[in-house]
């Protein structure tokens, strides 16, 4: 369990470095593959709640360290209405929320129905991006939700979701190597039935 958890942390750091080299797809409304979020979501369904929360804290913390904007600067007499930015640390909460969302269908995942988790990965990223954008609207005022933004969120969620089977496969391989039991209860039932037969 400990070795698996540490390998997840290394995987998150690796994803963070790889994320730096993944450009936005300008032809698809600047959508992109959110690798760090994807690794977190896939990992969160394979671990217990305390480990998921540790991962959520680390991912959110690092994500905010990467994306938080600086102070607007300038003379407040001239720039009277600066555009507010999201506070450092908000991503930690969002990662926690989507982590709990993923854990909601952990029983299905343990039965071997990983397809549901794949779909929920896309939904979680959609929720994450929508929440993030709504928070920007809230702190900056004036609700603006152009169609392009909706497309950006949809394409980003879909694109990231398509890569989730690959991340699950990597996680299963790591779990197998370090003897971590993700507990496929469905497989256990099958084995039991075979033994009875």
């Amino acid at each position: 369990m400990i070795r698996y958890t540490f390998s997840l942390l290394i995987l998150v750091l690796f994803a963070l470095v790889a994320q730096q080299f993944i450009p936005a797809l300008t032809g698809l409304f600047n959508s992109r593959l959110l690798l760090v979020t994807l690794v977190f979501l896939c990992a969160s369904v394979t671990v217990r709640t305390p480990v998921m929360l540790v991962l959520a804290f680390i991912c959110g913390f690092l994500w905010d360290a990467q994306t938080t904007l600086g102070p607007p600067g300038g003379d407040p007499e001239v720039y009277k209405y600066p555009a507010e930015s999201l506070r450092f640390g908000y991503s930690i909460i969002l990662y926690g929320v989507i982590g709990f969302l993923m854990q909601g269908i952990q029983p299905l995942f343990r039965e071997g129905k990983w397809q549901f988790s794949t779909i929920l990965t896309g939904i979680s990223i959609f929720v994450y991006l929508i929440a993030e954008y709504l928070m920007i609207n809230f702190v900056r005022g004036g609700f603006i939700f152009p169609r392009a933004t909706l497309y950006q969120i949809i394409f980003t969620s879909t694109l990231t979701m398509l890569f989730s089977p690959l991340v699950f496969w990597i996680l299963f391989t790591i779990a197998g190597r370090f003897g971590h039991e993700i507990r496929f209860e469905g497989l256990k039932k099958k084995r039991r039935r075979r033994a009875i037969a």
Binding site: T67, I136, I144
Partner: protein
């Protein structure tokens, strides 16, 4: 809920509150540490990109390169003439300023920087450049390109890495004036603009602002961020309002084709 899960959730919330209550300075220190750890990877990636570009350039057709060289030579000759003319004007300007007892302006010195990454985040319009604190880059330093104003430095890395917030972002505000009119306002980008050419929003104009499409927009130099008389864009349309008018401005810089930018010294603005 199990006791362990409850304890973990409480610790998680405490950690989140701790992060949310960090001061601006602490956040900057965290970001500096984070980026100093990432810089080797980013530098390596940037070098790889340069090599890939060089390889792509090498395989281009030689005739195409020759034509390009001729064009560049012509452009070079033209720019030499322009430079010579500019020097004459600079000398004349200096003479006039001295004569009028104006404060002598410092010599224009811009630092060139290469754009190494475009829009690394989901929502903010930013680029990253290959200059950091070691090259004298400071926070809020104005950034320009050959077409006009690009934005300002938003985060300064220790070595060879800084982030620039573009004019097309809502958070980058510039005090501007419209050429040939007394109209002064605040220009910024617009939220959620991804299609076509981005348009800038010029706010706080007078209610009866009479602006004609095509009028050029320049920085005022007020506000302590940007020097005066930097070209920002041209007016496209005006939307009159009861309290103030707004205008849509087409930026003078092509933000899709940013490869080299110039950092203006901050002391010029003060």
């Amino acid at each position: 809920m199990r006791p362990l899960n409850l304890l973990a959730s409480l610790l998680f919330l405490a950690g989140a509150v701790w992060a949310l209550t960090r001061s601006e300075r602490t956040v900057r220190e965290i970001q500096n540490t984070y980026y100093s750890c990432l810089t080797p990877f980013l530098t390596a990636g940037s070098k790889l990109e340069v090599k890939a570009r060089a390889f792509r350039d090498e395989v281009r057709h030689s005739k195409e390169l020759e034509a390009e060289l001729d064009e560049i030579r012509q452009e070079y000759d033209r720019l030499r003439q322009v430079e010579s003319h500019a020097r004459e004007l600079e000398a004349e300007n200096a003479r006039l300023r001295r004569a009028m007892d104006f404060q002598q302006r410092t010599e224009f010195a811009a630092t060139a920087a290469r754009v190494i990454r475009r829009q690394p985040t989901t929502w903010w319009q930013t680029v990253e450049i290959d200059r950091g604190e070691d090259s004298g880059v400071v926070l809020h330093q104005p950034v320009v390109a050959d077409g006009g104003l690009v934005g300002k430095v938003d985060r300064v890395g220790k070595t060879g890495f800084s982030s620039v917030i573009l004019l097309t972002d809502e958070a980058c505000q510039v005090s501007v004036q419209v050429e040939g009119t007394p109209e002064v306002g605040i220009l910024s980008g617009q939220r959620g603009q991804y299609e076509g050419e981005p348009k800038l929003r010029l706010r706080f104009l007078s209610p009866k602002a009479r602006l004609s499409p095509g009028s050029r927009v320049f920085t005022t130099g007020r506000g302590g961020l940007f020097p005066a008389n930097l070209l920002v864009g041209t007016v496209e349309a005006v939307v009159p309002g009861p309290l103030d008018s707004e205008a849509l401005v087409r930026p003078s810089v092509d933000f899709t084709d940013l490869s080299t930018v110039f950092l203006l010294p901050l002391q010029q603005t003060q």
